[in-house]
């Protein structure tokens, strides 16, 4: 209950600095106050005892007929002496009521409170009285002197607490200022040197997050720039082709312009189609179902009419019955793109071999061709969106086919490896699926 309350109080002050300041200063103040109060009270009590003792000593020092004259003025003692018959033989100061009770009492006379000591001495009753306000004033002065050091130390202590808290939190403030002063796209790491060990790991994590955001931001920027370029090129082509059609002088020119315009529209449509496919693969959820990869492979291979048109020998070397969890449409798209890619880059009369078999617990799809292959330096880049090899720039693809393959593979947790085909000399494309 109490802890819960404390937690709520802590959370009510969101700033660490303010929280530390508030609670530390409150604790210091409370401690000083308690210490001061207790000192004050002790001092008062002790002063009381001292004054009483002084009165006793004074009374003891008095013998009948000899009344002290040289008492310290500041004590403001009132002295009266009475005979046993009740006759007042001596009085200094105010008239006090006669008291039969011996010892200390507090009495009221003329509207003031007095501490009265009555003693019997040499057949007389001696009464010594002291004004309580005087006594309290004197005692108070004494008590104040005892709490003076605490009163002086308190602000010093507060300053020290404030300084220590500020200095300790200065690195946090520095990091905050560094971050606040940034432009929206400034994702450079925050400086980690000079940070306390409690904060350094946090800033380290922040920096690594900034690094990841930076990379994905850059990738996105590149994609946008590339997409702009890739979308503008077909648009430019279409515009020019329309102009050429409008300005064509004769029937021959018109036919040529129309053919080119149709090809331009075809290309723009293909690009948009591929972009949509890629976007869908990258944003796809995880609705995975068992897919018979071997059956799917046979079906897609049957669709490859381009191979026949180019006199390419497309063959299935072997297909293990392979069930994996996945999305059949996406996997068909992957197979189509991989096979299409090999067929496109393999010269007419060449060869493309496909095999699907288990290697231990992983299912390996291998597509090999007798085309030019891909240089080792380029093997990573070919999966980038819109990347086209400088050598094959004229082939006129959208540059998205392998990016789609990678997106589908990532969605299925499959690993891609590119190499040089030992059997056919061209590209060897391997795709490893882990077993269900």
């Amino acid at each position: 209950m109490m802890l819960k309350q404390m937690k709520q109080w802590f959370q009510a002050v969101p700033s660490l600095r303010r929280r530390l300041m508030l609670f530390l200063l409150a604790a210091v103040s409370l401690a000083a106050l308690a210490q001061g109060l207790s000192s004050y009270r002790t001092a008062l009590q002790e002063a009381d005892e001292i004054f009483d003792y002084q009165m006793q000593q004074t009374a003891m020092a008095m013998t009948s007929g000899s009344y002290p004259q040289g008492l310290p003025q500041e004590l403001e003692l009132v002295i009266q002496a009475w005979t046993p018959e009740g006759l007042q033989v001596f009085r200094s100061g105010v008239q006090l009521p006669q008291r039969a009770v011996l010892g200390f009492t507090n009495v009221e006379a003329e509207g003031r409170h007095y501490r009265v000591l009555s003693v019997q001495r040499g057949g007389q009753v001696l009464q010594l009285a002291q004004d309580l306000t005087v006594r309290q004033r004197l005692a108070g002065r004494l008590a104040l002197r005892t709490i003076m050091p605490i009163a002086i130390m308190l602000p010093v202590l507060m300053l020290v607490v404030g300084w220590v808290v500020s200095r300790s939190l200065a690195p946090v403030e520095r990091v905050r200022r560094q971050l606040a002063a940034r432009a929206a796209d400034d994702l450079a790491p925050v400086q980690e040197t000079g940070l306390p060990v409690e904060i350094r790991p946090m800033v380290g994590e922040l920096n690594s997050l900034l690094g990841r955001v930076q990379r994905s931001y850059q990738a996105q920027q590149h994609f946008v720039a590339d997409a702009a370029h890739e979308l503008r090129s077909p648009l430019t082509a279409l515009k020019l082709q329309v102009q050429a059609l409008q300005r064509a002088g004769d029937e021959e020119g018109r036919t040529l312009a129309q053919t080119r315009l149709a090809a331009g529209i075809e290309r723009a449509g293909h690009l948009v189609e591929q972009l949509l496919l890629l976007a869908r693969q990258e944003a796809a959820g995880d609705e995975l179902q068992p897919v018979a990869l071997d059956a799917l492979l046979r079906q897609v291979m049957g669709e490859q009419a381009a191979a026949q048109a180019k006199q390419i020998d497309l063959g299935l070397l072997g297909a293990d019955a392979g069930n994996i969890r996945g999305n059949a449409d996406a996997l068909a798209l992957l197979l189509r793109n991989v096979l299409g890619n090999s067929i496109k880059y393999t010269p007419a009369g060449g060869k493309v071999d496909v095999g699907l078999l288990y290697e231990g617990s992983t299912l390996r799809l291998r597509v090999e061709d007798s085309g030019p292959g891909i240089a080792p330096a380029e093997r990573e880049r070919v999966f980038d969106r819109f990347y086209r090899s400088p050598e094959t720039q004229g082939a006129g693809g959208s540059g998205l086919g392998l990016a789609i393959v990678r997106a589908v593979a990532e969605r299925h947790g499959a690993r891609i490896h590119l190499g040089r085909s030992a059997a056919l000399g061209g590209l060897q494309f391997d795709l490893y699926f882990s077993k269900v």
Partner: protein
């Protein structure tokens, strides 16, 4: 006027080549940065139309090399790189103008005319000399206020001569304005067109300078 078209995209290059030729320009088309660089080093062009994203060598690098050789021909960049820093970089690398794809053909042609005009050291859009005036924007020619119809080839011979009166152009230089690489040149083509132009515009307009070539006299 002879133009080098540097464009890797076949679907853009083909219609652009035809459209520029229809305007009467002699056009050579190259599809990568290395070929562009060697074409610029070996041929005399009046203008280069340069794409930036090129295979083998980037357009900006070709441009910088061109300017480093102190070649002064106007360069018009036509690219899809639209970011402000890229446009600034292109112009600062030595380009004279920068158009973004997809561009309007008419605007591109107007910019080409403007650059050619400036390169020949004049600001007025209509060339007027010795009673003959030609307007490159409309392809209209007038002699003493009377319209004359010129063929595209005749135009190609007349324009560079009229652009700089007094300057002698050799037959070979005029042939370069007439034909791209792949065109077949008949040996007496320039003579034929000059003959045609003299008939239409008056015998005194184009002078023979024996052994050197042709010129339009200053006065």
């Amino acid at each position: 006027m002879r133009i080098l078209l540097v464009e890797d995209d076949q679907m853009i290059g083909e219609p652009l080549l035809d459209l520029l030729r229809a305007e009467g320009y002699a056009v050579d088309w190259v599809r990568d940065g290395v070929l562009a660089d060697s074409a610029l080093q070996t041929q005399n062009y009046d203008l280069a139309l340069l794409d930036l994203g090129l295979p083998k060598r980037d357009g900006l690098s070709v441009l910088r090399a061109l300017r480093a050789r102190k070649q002064r021909l106007p360069v018009l960049i036509a690219t899809a790189r639209d970011a402000l820093p890229q446009r600034i970089e292109g112009l600062d690398a030595g380009a004279d103008d920068y158009v973004l794809k997809p561009f309007e053909l008419d605007e591109l042609l107007a910019r080409i005319r403007a650059l050619l005009r400036r390169a020949s050291g004049r600001a007025e859009p209509v060339y007027e000399h010795l009673g003959v005036s030609i307007n490159p924007a409309t392809h209209e020619a007038m002699v003493d206020g009377r319209p004359v119809s010129l063929s595209a080839r005749e135009w190609a011979v007349l324009e560079p001569l009229l652009a700089r009166p007094g300057l002698v152009l050799s037959r070979q230089q005029l042939e370069e304005k007439l034909y791209g690489w792949k065109d077949e040149i008949s040996s007496n083509a320039v003579e034929v067109y000059v003959h045609g132009l003299r008939k239409k515009l008056g015998a005194e307009l184009i002078q023979n300078v024996r052994g050197l070539g042709y010129r339009v006299p200053k006065q």
